[in-house]
Amino acid sequence: MRYQRKNNSQKVLQIIGENGYIFIFALWFIFLSFKTDTFLTSQNILTVLRQGAIVSIAAIGEMLVMLLGGMDVSVGALLGFSGIVGANLMVDFNLSPALAGLVCVLVGGMIGLVNGFLVTKVRINPVVATLGMMTVLNGLALAWTQGKTVAGSQLDSIAFLSRGYIGSIPFSVILMLLFYCIFYLILNKTVFGARIYAIGNNEKASWLAGIEVDKLKMLTYTIAGFLGGFSGLLQVSRQGSATSSMGNEFLFPILTAVILGGIGLSGGKGKIQNTLIAVIFLMTINNGMVLLGIPLYTQDIIQGLILILALSLDRLHYRNR
């Protein structure tokens, strides 16, 4: 009898645990809906989604890398640097927006490829390799801009990407959903996706099963780079300018979202849609605190507490396994 009962309570814990942060998110969402008049308005919800668009697109790349059991801490710096290059080409060299945007994405991809090369061929630990890359990129960003803000009317031509609307829906939100649909299909329906999960699960066994692990890893880091580069372009569009510090805001929310979304640090497990939900959760935390009128100086504490709560619920079912 005693064991029987324990089993039932374990099941409840498991259900909450497996969707831990979604559960906390739901509570937070309901709380905000009742507590403020402004939260549950279509305008505010669209604002939150729009704020999540760039982080969430860059987070796809991070998620892919972490599914492989790797990590890319250069994602923020990569986003910032690619954005600066793109903005600079448009403002100071009058390159057409399409071409500059393409260069921006390609620069991101190239950096990703170098990351992949360092991790697979030079065999540097991913955190260390991308940390080095982050430092280099931050330095390059400073050197490139000389600390100055890159801005000009030429950037208005890409404003549509992050600030435009189709009907009443922000274009960036449409882009975000589009990217998530595409990568949902890639991860769940294609050989490439299946192999990413396989490698994250057991790299050696995957290699012995004839998967070309190194090539696939390089490809993944490169894709993460493309996504980071594109996010950089989106950020330039959002700010209407590019600053050398632009990428610094991104690493923390991206890593938080991917981990919160259930991608373990050892890889091989996790769903892409959970990353998206986690990004939106993060955005509602900031949004909600402003709407609630919580003083700026206590916001960090509350943000930290919400995250710890969400993560600890998430880990309950691991402990009870």
């Binding site: 064991y3 324990k6 299946a194 396989a198 066994a205 995957s206 012995l208 099963a209 004839g210 998967i211």
Partner: protein, 495 residues
């Protein structure tokens, strides 16, 4: 005799598997009680329940006349039940003394009493006739057999009354097994009750007083050892009425050469290996541990470096790598199934389809899930893999079934050459015979099997020709139909 431990109606299930089904069992004080069963029979689950690592879904346990329901392994140890797992649980960088006392260090208000600590360690070792092990030695530097003794000493210091041993001889060589048996018998004479979990029947008949057989989570029989024979036990374990005791007959049609090794060398590990391997042939490679047989096998798949010499595949030079091997229809079943053979967290279906996935797609790389399912279903049926569904993750399967999954993925790619390294290691007899039959069937289909194994009877029973390695070199190539165990064994010793 008194009953020290009794289990009443213990059941435990995992998603999709009834691991233990209504087990009732009594263990008598001061006996060696063997627990046998095929892989997946429920031995490890029962062991985990006894050691506090797992709770039963229902049923109760009584230990020394008191209800026994350990919350965790440390509670079990406190109650007097110690478990020694196959994977030893020692601190390699600490001394023998420290390891024996770990967790229950004698102390005065937190200050370590090193003298008592040493005394306790010394007396525990003396009790095991193992005083020759220096107390100050680092455990990492000891031999496997000695490490096992340290584990037992650890249990003795913890005042254990029931000692559970899980396949204690799995990692030992012959010279280490005898002393271990003596220790176990000594402990029994000192009144310690032993629950001995194994599937090596020889050992059980040498040691045990009582034997319990599990099969598919049910208790089949508990019997005094002198009232059963190995054949009876095997029948109980496999649930079969009768088991073939002989190997299947070897295929007689051997065709053209498919693989040729010329002067293959890898620094210090194997040297100047020349071999010609033919279609339809089973070639056995054997030798002692350290003879280079496993490394030679791994080198053929690219998992071990080749320094000189060449491999020819159908006359064309071949530089091994897993990806190239796959496209050349060479399949590989590694020795370490959990780490290299299967992807434990993925489904049976995905494990089987993994090397074939790129052939199961439509543009631009979308997997055809129906075809994948068919392929996996075919593998499951062909190899009789016991799984509740194709979606089951491989970690939840028993060892033998995991091994079959590891092989099924290569059958699914239509491999022409199969490289099997220790395919029956750690597998129960039932599955062993299934694999033997399979090897026979595949070679009859014209496939080539390279079988690397240390089990000589298996090599002789299956292989057309037997390559014996000694110190990295070919000592002898023997005809599998003519040779006998003694000749092979002698060759492995370099004679």
């Amino acid at each position: 005799m008194t009953t020290i431990l009794s289990l009443k109606n213990i059941s435990r299930s995992f998603p999709g598997v009834q691991a233990l089904d209504d087990i009732s069992l009594e263990v008598e004080q001061g006996t060696i009680h063997a627990l046998v069963g095929a892989n997946g029979a429920g031995k490890s689950t029962l062991m985990k329940i006894l050691s506090g690592a797992l709770a039963p879904d229902s049923g109760e346990m009584i230990f020394e006349n008191a209800p026994y329901a350990p919350a965790d392994p440390s509670a079990a140890i406190k109650d007097g039940i110690a478990t020694i797992y196959q994977e030893l649980n020692l601190l390699p960088t600490r001394t023998v003394t420290a390891n024996i006392n770990v967790g229950k260090e004698p102390n005065h208000f937190g200050i370590l009493d090193e003298k008592t600590e040493r005394q306790k360690a010394a007396s525990a070792l003396a009790q095991l006739n193992a005083s020759y092990i220096p107390l100050q030695a680092l455990v990492g530097n000891l031999k496997v057999g000695e490490k096992q003794i340290i584990e037992i000493a650890k249990a003795l210091v913890g005042k254990c009354k029931l000692l559970i041993l899980d396949e204690p001889t799995a990692a030992l060589n012959d010279s280490e097994i005898i002393p271990l048996f003596n220790i176990i018998k000594d402990l029994k004479n000192q009144g310690v009750t032993i629950l001995y979990v194994s599937h090596r029947l020889k050992e059980i008949f040498a040691l045990a007083d009582v034997v319990t057989v599990l099969c598919d989570g049910k208790l089949v029989v508990t019997s005094l050892i002198n009232q059963v024979t190995p054949d009876i036990l095997i029948n109980h374990m496999t649930g079969r009425k009768k088991i073939k005791s002989a190997f299947p007959e070897k295929n007689k049609v051997i065709k053209e050469e498919v693989l040729r090794l010329e002067h293959l060398s890898s620094s210090m590990v194997f040297k100047d290996i020349n071999l010609s391997i033919h279609r339809g042939e089973v070639i056995g490679i054997t030798g002692l541990a350290g003879s280079g047989k496993v490394e030679l096998g791994k080198a053929l798949i690219g998992d071990f470096p080749i320094n000189s010499g060449q491999v020819f595949l159908q006359g064309i030079p071949f530089k091994p790598s897993p990806a190239k091997a796959k496209s050349a229809h060479i399949g590989y079943m590694p020795e370490d199934r959990k780490k290299e053979g299967v992807l434990e967290e993925l489904s049976v279906q995905r494990n089987i389809s993994l090397p074939s996935l790129s052939d199961l797609t439509q543009f631009p790389g979308f997997i055809l899930f129906n075809k994948e399912r068919e392929l996996a279903q075919q593998g499951v049926e062909e190899l009789d893999i016991k799984t509740p569904s194709l979606k089951q993750i491989v970690r939840n399967l028993s060892g033998g079934n995991q091994q079959k999954v590891s092989l099924a993925k290569w059958l699914a790619t239509n491999s022409e050459i199969l490289l099997l390294i220790e395919p029956t290691q750690g597998i129960d007899v039932g599955v062993k015979f299934e694999i033997y039959e399979l090897i026979h069937k595949l070679s009859a289909q014209g496939k080539t099997i390279i079988l690397v194994s240390s089990e000589i009877s298996e090599i002789i029973g299956l292989a057309h020709s037997i390559v014996v390695l000694f110190n990295g070199q070919i000592q002898a190539i023997l005809d599998g139909n003519q040779t006998n165990e003694e000749e092979v064994l002698q060759a492995t010793f370099g004679k």
